[in-house]
């Protein structure tokens, strides 16, 4: 029983939706296909939910308390998959009829072939591997053979360009570091030349391992084309183990694993639906948390037991992923607005980011959520000791007046160091991902060491993930993913664009003041 705002959809409703999709001139053929697939999927109800809990879930979904992030009622494929691409390099793949690559050209084409068979909620791979570790042996061999770096650079550039033109989704994410390598430097150079929104990139940064020279190069690259972001490698490794990756927007997940599902609680809406803080903490919030976890349990159960992925898909059969390295992600957004609503209802003036009382309320809410989520057991989440992992969801184009995760709202930014320290209060709660964005004036390109100093300070202040871009770059970071300004302009004029994520970026630009994000100037008092 598909419902939308209390009304059960009829066959005619579905037919009209299909016609709308088929006649939309801004959709490419692929985008039409994916939209039609979602229509089919949404004909099913979530199996295995008790009717009263399902009723609560539908009610909360319609009130906007809970959001399924385009997974619909049924998840038949893990939302995020992080294959162990190293296995492809070592052993090849039977299903893909690929033997272990021998040359750089062999390696990059093997990876491109494999990417086409890695699904996700976006239908494209959200993780394309630790590119420098995968390719460095081949790059070294090619450099030795050719006596220089030109041929390696060309191949790396063509590899990255092909990713952008065949993976139409900026949630596709590659990793670099923490160690220095020729490959990492070639990738950074190529990204500056290409100026593409895909792939997303993160430098797994450890100041004990990553030389400053590489880190500064990464900062310069980010100021030019909005990537790479920086992840605090030591923090992620301590929580997730050595073999982890950053996927999709900024999600820390195990390699050879991933996430079954990510569902999110829109805290601001739950607060709106609460009489006061007491009602929120004792009634609406725990009710919403429990309902969401029941929904997640049901979806994960279907995915593991009834959907064929873990039994039939080559990724599982050939050991590129293991079922015991998947987990459920409990997401949340809108902490800023939630706290402000509750403070107002309590008759208090303090606001999130500006008042210790308000910030302490946010921490109290986080501690409550964490404790309740940690008490819940899911039998398929052995990776995280039977619990769901908390995730600061990065927002969607539908979030008008709802800030991502625990971020301070755009337009309400506070002085730089205070802002970073504030972010650092919350990052510890989210091993599966959170992040903050600090764009700089383009003059920062002349002193990238300064931006690196700030990143180091940020990691020493509790942050785990930080991004930047300069206000003049064509590629910008929306909330976690990248989009080209020129693509958004084209789509706004009614032209079709290749990349699926542009429409999300455009809606965010129109409705969520993305371009009004505070640009940090060269000097600040």
């Amino acid at each position: 029983m598909a419902t939308d705002k209390g009304k059960e959809w009829t066959l005619q409703d579905h037919q009209e939706k299909v016609k709308f999709i088929l006649t939309d001139k801004t959709l490419t053929p692929h985008q039409v296909t994916y939209a039609l697939a979602a229509v089919g999927r949404d004909l099913l109800a979530t199996p295995g939910m008790a009717p009263d809990v399902e009723g609560d879930y539908i009610m909360m979904k319609e009130k906007g308390w809970i959001c399924d992030l385009n997974e619909g009622h049924v998840t038949y494929m893990p939302r995020y998959i992080l294959p162990d691409y190293g296995r492809l390099m070592e052993k090849g793949s039977v299903f893909l009829r690929l033997s272990p690559p021998k040359t750089l050209l062999d390696a990059i084409t093997a990876l491109l072939a494999m990417y086409a068979s890695v699904p996700s909620v976006t239908h494209f791979p959200v993780y394309i591997g630790r590119l420098d570790r995968l390719l460095e042996p081949y790059v070294e061999k090619e450099m030795e053979k050719s006596g220089g770096e030109d041929s390696s650079y060309e191949m790396i550039k063509m590899f990255l360009r092909t990713i952008d033109r065949t993976i139409f989704d900026s949630f596709s994410h590659g990793n670099l570091g923490p160690e220095d390598s020729k490959t990492a430097r070639l990738i950074l150079r190529a990204e500056r030349e290409l100026q593409n929104s895909t792939p997303n990139l993160t430098l797994l940064y450890d100041p004990q391992i990553t030389p400053d020279e590489l880190a500064v190069l990464a900062v310069e690259t980010a100021l030019d084309c909005a990537k790479p972001s920086f992840a605090k490698d030591s923090m992620f490794r301590a929580e997730l183990g050595e073999n982890y990756g950053i996927a999709s927007c900024y999600n820390g997940l195990p390699v050879a694993g991933g996430a079954y599902t990510l569902t999110r609680l829109i805290l601001a809406r739950v607060a709106e639906g609460s009489k006061n803080k007491e009602d929120f903490m004792n009634h609406t919030l725990p009710w919403a948390i429990d309902t969401m976890m029941a929904f997640m349990d049901a979806k994960i159960d279907f995915l593991v037991k009834e959907a064929p992925f873990f039994r039939a898909n080559f990724l599982a059969k050939e050991g590129f992923v293991r079922p015991d390295r998947f987990n459920g992600l409990f997401g949340l957004v809108g902490m800023n607005e939630c706290v402000n609503i509750l403070m107002e209802r309590e008759g208090k003036e303090g606001r999130f980011g500006f008042d210790v009382g308000a910030d302490n309320l946010a921490l109290e809410i986080m501690d409550f959520i964490k404790a309740r989520v940690d008490r819940h057991e899911n039998p398929h989440c052995s990776y995280w000791k039977g619990r769901f992992m908390l995730h600061a969801q990065v927002g969607t184009d539908a979030d008008i007046g709802i800030s991502p995760g625990t971020r301070i709202a755009i337009g309400r930014e506070i002085p730089l160091y205070e802002h970073i320290r504030h972010a650092g209060l919350f990052h510890k709660y989210f091993p599966s991902g959170t992040g903050d964005i600090f764009p700089f004036d383009s003059t920062a390109g002349k002193n990238p060491e300064a931006v690196l100093d700030i990143f180091k300070g940020a990691f020493d202040s509790g942050m785990r993930y930080i991004s930047t871009y300069s206000k003049d770059s064509d590629v910008i970071r929306i909330t976690g993913y990248l989009v080209k300004r020129s693509d958004m302009d084209a789509l706004e004029k009614g032209e079709a664009v290749l990349n699926d994520t542009v429409v999300l970026g455009l809606t965010s630009r129109q409705k969520s003041k993305i371009e009004e994000r505070k640009v940090r100037k060269v000097e600040e008092e």
């Binding site: 002085p415 160091y417 920062a444 002349k446 002193n447 060491e449 300064a450 100093d453 300070g457």
Partner: protein, 250 residues
């Protein structure tokens, strides 16, 4: 006594990326012994300006402000005005930064100390100050003495002396020249500086700052021209040809 040692602080910028390498806290002191035509903050020239919003602060008070920005800043740059008008304050301030700033920088580094100066102070006479100074951002405003006097109202003899002395002492963090194309022969300045530095030129960073009328006194505006982008690029090429290790255009 240290407690009685105070300096007139015009402004403190917690976050600056244009006052030396890395992210720094910049402290601006009131009062200057030059009177440059193109000065973009002329309100800092008169030490007794009644309109200036000055706070007299002890070294410890300023150190506390810098440390509050830990671990985001690599160090502190003192500028102005002309901060070398307060050499005892500077020395005391830097000594305390060295003492209390250990491990307080990004990634656990020690805080560094830079002076932004018009070069009028004889640094040779104050080895204790230099000892706690990691570098000097030296303004070489004009190599021609006559033009220097016309534009800045002061001699450049000490400046040129400092140029060589600081380079040899390993304390020349940066050489800076504001480019006003119609009032100075910048090519000549570059050639003279390169010549004086000799082998030290390749270790030297040269910052060429395009003159901008922002903040400049109204009566000076007519006689000062903004350099074109092409002119700045030409000067950069020349500077690199002359052997400077790094050339930055601002």
């Amino acid at each position: 006594m240290k407690e009685n040692l105070k300096a007139p602080v015009h402004k403190i910028l917690n976050h600056s990326i244009v006052d030396g390498r890395g992210n720094r806290t910049a402290v601006f002191l009131q009062g200057c012994n030059f009177n440059c035509a193109y000065c973009h903050n002329p309100e800092t020239i008169d030490p007794m300006d009644p309109k200036a919003d000055i706070t007299w602060m002890t070294p410890t008070q300023v150190v506390n402000r810098v440390l509050a920005n830990s671990p985001f800043v690599r160090g502190v740059t003192v500028s102005g005005g002309e901060c070398t008008l307060h050499p005892e304050f500077l020395r005391s301030f830097f000594e305390e930064i060295k003492e209390r700033g250990q491990g307080r920088g990004p990634g656990g580094g020690d805080l560094t100390t830079l002076i932004d100066s018009n070069g009028s102070y004889d640094f040779k006479q104050n080895p204790q100050l230099l000892c706690v100074t990691d570098g000097v951002l030296l303004d070489v405003k004009e190599s021609d003495g006559k033009t220097h006097m016309e534009l800045m109202g002061a001699s450049n003899v000490q400046v040129m002396d400092n140029l060589v002395f600081l380079a040899k002492a390993g304390k020349l963090e940066e050489v800076r020249t504001v480019v006003v194309p119609n009032r100075m022969d910048v090519e000549n300045i570059l050639e003279t500086v390169a010549d004086l530095l000799g082998e030290y030129a390749k270790e030297t960073t040269y910052r060429l700052i395009a003159y901008r009328p922002v903040g400049v006194r109204k009566e000076m505006l007519k006689s000062l021209k903004v350099p074109t982008k092409e002119k700045m690029e030409e000067l950069k090429s020349l500077a690199l040809e002359l052997g400077f290790g790094k050339v930055i255009l601002t």
